[in-house]
Amino acid sequence: MRLRCKVNGEALEADDVWPGESLLYVLRERMGLPGSKNACEQGECGSCTVYLDGVPVCSCLVAAGQVEGHEVTTVEGLAEGERLDPVQQAFVEKGAVQCGFCTPGLIVATHDLLERRCQPSDPEIREALAGNLCRCTGYEKILDAVRLAADRKAAS
């Protein structure tokens, strides 16, 4: 099928899409957007998290055919030009990134959390990020980064 959808604000098309392939595959292999990572393809790790119509989902669990006519925002869509999103900036500053594989999903999940709760408690942060696994950092620096981004957001 020919798939038409809006990705990061831009109307995109992809041809010869198998409607049962995942949105993650479409983004990475057909649209040149490798930001969202493929680590499990079964919804367990969250590294493929994107916004679909404004709601964070695992893009590996969305069928390409379901996205026709819908809107997707990936980690690539969060920065404004060269200026990183405050969540991205906080991850960099706090050293919340090691191999980086989990990072795109964590950035999107954190971005969503801070849209909904500007000063989340630690339990709220843990709950919101429970679907994102990181095998490197031990999570402490990730929590630091989320708190920093939240503080800056609250101050701005």
Partner: protein
């Protein structure tokens, strides 16, 4: 592979009648795992996510009609106060991403004995509304689950909604797993106290080929509870209730736990959830 994307419910039913083999896909959180890993290659997918009415719920009589496509996240947000048992179960499903996308309709379609919606639907005596071009019927949850991953639907039918009464008393849900997030139940238990009818509802998950009620435990407890002058529960009542719940199960040994462990855990969950529910009834 064909991909059907009906915009209306009647269109979806017509497609399902003509292509009974078409596999419905809602949130995709079960189906897509199977597609990604090549466990399944359906000839056709029937996408239900464009059908607005499946994502709607409404208050009807003393309860609700909840569209099969309402996500767990929305059940928690929008219906949590009226359907606390189901909302508690929904909070334990997967992760935020899974709850944003996964639906009760999909849980019912998959009919896994471990599905977390099932115990509260059983305890709350929900009806499942299924439909085809031939018409609509309501199946009580207790008759919906037919075997491991089998339900009572005909090949041309789709799940439209479930009907469930608003809680008229305390409800509880408990689930055993290795951690808090992202875990399939080793076993689970749902409890609903119904002071208005002086009855009790239960649902046992992941401890038999299908989710099921613990009917003897319900009858026993309804007879023992002192609804009018609620004092502390006697230990003997708690223990007997736990035993009867465990007896209702017919668990197996598998990678997640042994049959013995499941029976034991069920009796503990039954006692605890009853303690919590009764305390809350006494306070009100």
């Amino acid at each position: 592979m064909e991909f059907f994307k009906p915009a209306t419910w009647s269109e979806a039913l017509a497609i399902k009648a003509e292509h009974p083999d078409a596999t419905p896909i809602a949130g995709g959180t079960d189906i897509m795992v199977e597609l990604n890993f090549d466990v399944r290659r359906p000839g056709a997918l029937l996408d239900l996510t464009e059908i607005a009415e499946l994502r709607e719920w409404s208050a009807v009589g003393d309860g609700f009609r909840v569209g099969s496509g309402v996500s767990y996240a929305r059940i928690i947000e929008e219906l949590g106060a009226s359907l606390p048992g189901l909302a508690m179960a929904a909070r334990t499903v997967g992760s935020p991403q899974i709850r944003n996308r996964g639906t009760v309709g999909g849980n019912l379609g998959a009919a896994s004995p471990a599905g977390d919606s099932h115990p509260p639907l059983l305890a709350g005596a929900a009806d499942i509304e299924v439909a085809s071009v031939r018409g609509t019927r309501r199946i009580p949850a207790a008759e919906f689950y037919k075997g491991v991953k089998r339900n009572a639907m005909e090949p041309d039918e789709l799940i439209a909604a479930f009907h469930i009464a608003a809680a008229d008393g305390p409800q509880q849900f408990a689930k055993i797993g290795t951690r808090n997030a992202m875990v399939i139940a080793v076993c689970s238990f749902g409890l609903a106290l119904h002071p208005s009818t002086r009855t009790v509802g239960t649902g046992v998950g992941s401890a038999a080929p299908t989710p099921r009620r613990a009917s003897d435990a319900e009858t026993f407890l309804a007879g023992e509870l002192e609804w009018d002058s609620p004092g502390p529960l006697r230990d003997s009542v708690l223990v007997r209730f736990g035993e009867l719940v465990a007896q209702a199960a017919s668990p197996i040994d598998d990678v997640r736990g042994t049959a013995d462990y499941r029976r034991h855990a069920l009796s503990v969950m039954a006692r605890r959830t009853l303690g919590w529910a009764w305390d809350s009834y006494r306070r009100n």
